[in-house]
Amino acid sequence: MVPRRGQGHHHFMSHRNFIWICLLPLVVVTAAFFLLPMAQLLAVGAGGSRGVSAYLAIITEPRYRATLINTVVLAAATTIATLVIATIAGLFLQRHRFPGRAVLIAMLTFPLAFPGVVVGFLIILLAGRQGLIGAITAAVTGEKVVFAYSIFGLFLGYLYFSIPRVILTVMAAVQKLDIGLEEAARSLGASPWAVQRDVVLPALGPAFVASGAIAFATAMGAFGTAFTLATNIDVLPMLIYTEFTLAANFAISAALSIGLGVIAWAILALARSMSGGAVAAAG
C-alpha cells in the first residue's frame, strides 16, 4: 500500500511540474517584455520633480487636459464614423455579388498594412496645399480648400486606418448571421428597416464592440499620421513625443503614457459594460 501511494504522489507531482515547465516560457516572456518595462514606466512616472502627482497632471494641467479631450473626441468620432461606414459597406459587400466586388474589397482593405506615415502622406496628397481637393475647389470656386493639417485631416487619416480593420470584422460577422432570422422577421411584417433595427444590428453587437474597441484604441495611440501631418492640433501621442524628445521630460511622458493607457482602457470597459446586455443576449 505504502509504496503504491508514494508512486501515485510522485506521479501527481511530475504532472504538475510538467504544466509549470510548459508555462515557464510564457511567464518569462510576460515578465521580460510586459511587466518589467511597465513597472519601469510606472516608476519613472512617479520619479520626477512632481512625484506621484505627475499622474494627475494629465487631468489637472490645462494644456494636457485639452490634449486629452482632443484625443478622446477624435478617437470617439473616428470609431463612430468607422462603424457606420464599415457596417453599411460590410453588409452590402457581404450580401451582394457584382462584377468588381473582389477588387473593391481589395481596395478597401488595402491600407491595412500602411504605416501612419503613408496614411498621412495620402491625406496631404488629397487635402494638402498641393492636394487634389485644393486643386478642384480652386478651379471651381476660386478658393482653395486645404484641411490636411486640421483636425479634420487627422480624422480622415484615422478613418483610412480603421475602416479596413472594422470592415473585415463586420463582413465576417455578417456572413455568420442566420438569414432565417431576417426571413422570420419579414414574415411577421417587419419592413427592411425594421429588420435591420431589430434583428441585424443586435446580432452584430459583439462584432461592433470588438472592432470598435480596436478602432478606438488605435485612434487613441496613432502617432505616425499626426506626426506626418505636423498637425496644428495636439493629440496625446504627439504630446508624449514632444515631452520625451524635445523637453527630455521623462517623468511626465511616462505619466502621460500610463494615463493614455488607463483612459483608453476605462472608456473601452465602459462601452463594453453599457452594451453588455445587448451583447450577451445576441450571443
Binding site: R186, S187, L188, G189, D198
Partner: protein
C-alpha cells in the same frame, strides 16, 4: 374562424416553377389548390423541392415567369412577404436571440402597431395555447428544443396569419418528443381551423397531420390525395414505395388475373398486360393453409414485433414478399403457406420507364 386564428385563406398556386440562377431547376411548373382551413402536407425525399414550393407561397422566392400565387383569388405574386400576412415556422426555429419569449411572440403584433395591452393579452393567449406558461421572460438560449418549437409556433400564430407555413418544424427534435408534439400540433391545427402548409419528409407525420398530402419527387408532384388515397391507391411506384411499406410484384395480366411464380392473384377490372407492375401492402396479405390458396410460398423468416409479426415469404412472387401477419397465428420459418389477397388490395401501377 375569426376567433383565435383569424381567417384562413384559400391558396391557389398556378404554374409555379423555380429555376435558380445557377441553372438548378428545383421545381417544375406545378399547380395546387389549398382549401381554406385545410392542412396540406408537402411530402418527399430530401432535395425534391418542398422548401422551394413553401418559399414561393411565402414570398421568399419568386416563381419563374408565368407562375402565380393567389390568396383568396387575389394575386400575391408580386407582394413581398412582409405584406402577405403569412406565419412561418422554420426548422431552425429562427427565434430572435435578443428578445425574450414574450417579446418574440409579440414581435409581429408590435410591428403591426398593436398597443401594449392588446399585445400582452394576445401573447398570454398564445402562451396558454402552446403550453409554455412560466417561460415568458426567459431568453431563447434558456429554452429546450421542444420549448423553442412551441415559441416559434406561438409567434407565427399570434398575428392571425392568412396561411401558416411550417418547414419541417419537428425534424430537429428527438423521436419521443417529436411524437408528442406531432399530436399536439395536430389538435392545435384542427382547433384553429387555419390554412396550413406543412413540409416534411416523414410519412407518418404527413399521414397524421395532412387533410391532403402532396407527394413530391425531383421537383415535380407525384400525387395529390388524402392520406388514405395516397396509402391505398398510389398512382405510381414512387408513391407506393415512399409512403408505407409496399410489395412491388411483376407479372403478366390476362383475364383479370395476375400470374406470379407461386400462383395467381385476382384483380379488379384490370386490362390485359404482358408485363404488369402491382403493389400489395404487407398487412393486406393473409396467411392461410396452402391447400386453400391460389398463391403459395415458403416462409423464409418470422420476426415477432409485438402487435404483429413480419414474415418474409419467398417463391410466391418474383421477389420475396413482406407479410404483416396477426401476432396470434403460428408459423415457422421453412413452412409452406398459402397467401390470400383480396382483389381490392392489389393495386396495378402504370409501367414506368
Amino acid at each position: 374562424m375569426s376567433g383565435i386564428a383569424g381567417h384562413g385563406a384559400a391558396v391557389h398556386i398556378e404554374n409555379c416553377g423555380k429555376t435558380f440562377p445557377d441553372g438548378t431547376q428545383a421545381l417544375a411548373p406545378a399547380s395546387l389548390d389549398i382549401v381554406s382551413g385545410e392542412t396540406l402536407v408537402l411530402l418527399g425525399p430530401s432535395g425534391c423541392g418542398k422548401t422551394t414550393m413553401l418559399r414561393i407561397i411565402a414570398g421568399l422566392e419568386t416563381p419563374d415567369a408565368g407562375g402565380r400565387v393567389l390568396f383568396d383569388r387575389t394575386d400575391m405574386t408580386a407582394v413581398p412577404i412582409e405584406q402577405r400576412h403569412v406565419g412561418m415556422v422554420f426548422q431552425s426555429y429562427a427565434l430572435f436571440p435578443n428578445m425574450t419569449v414574450a417579446e418574440n411572440i409579440g414581435y409581429g403584433l408590435k410591428i403591426r402597431g398593436v398597443d401594449k395591452a392588446a399585445r400582452a393579452a394576445r401573447v398570454a393567449e398564445m402562451v396558454a395555447l402552446t403550453n409554455i406558461g412560466g417561460l415568458e421572460n426567459r431568453r431563447i438560449d434558456q429554452l429546450s428544443g421542444g420549448q423553442r418549437q412551441r415559441v416559434a409556433l406561438a409567434r407565427a400564430v399570434a398575428v392571425r396569419p392568412r396561411v401558416l407555413l411550417l418547414d419541417e418544424p419537428l425534424t430537429a427534435l428527438d423521436a419521443s418528443l417529436r411524437d408528442r408534439l406531432r399530436s399536439e400540433l395536430n389538435s392545435l391545427l384542427r382547433s384553429l381551423g387555419i390554412t396550413a402548409i406543412y413540409v416534411t419528409h416523414d410519412q407518418a407525420e404527413a399521414m397524421e397531420l395532412g387533410d391532403r398530402i402532396v407527394v413530391m419527387r425531383k421537383g415535380a408532384i407525384a400525387q395529390i390525395g388524402t392520406p388514405r388515397e395516397i396509402y391505398f391507391a398510389p398512382q405510381n411506384r414512387f408513391v407506393a414505395e415512399f409512403v408505407g411499406a409496399a410489395n412491388i410484384v411483376e407479372g403478366p395480366v390476362s383475364g383479370g388475373r395476375l400470374t406470379l411464380p407461386g400462383g395467381w392473384l385476382a384483380l379488379n377490372d384490370a386490362a390485359d398486360n404482358a408485363a404488369a407492375v402491382a403493389m400489395i401492402r404487407p398487412e393486406t396479405i393473409g396467411i392461410v393453409a396452402e391447400a386453400d390458396a391460389f398463391l403459395r410460398g415458403m416462409v423464409e423468416s418470422v420476426a415477432f414485433i409485438g402487435d404483429r409479426q413480419r414474415l418474409v415469404v419467398t417463391g410466391a412472387a418474383n421477389k420475396p414478399l413482406t407479410v404483416d401477419a396477426p401476432n396470434t397465428i403460428n408459423v415457422r420459418a421453412g413452412e409452406r403457406v398459402g397467401l390470400s389477397v383480396t382483389p381490392q388490395a392489389v393495386r396495378v401501377l402504370p409501367k414506368e420507364d
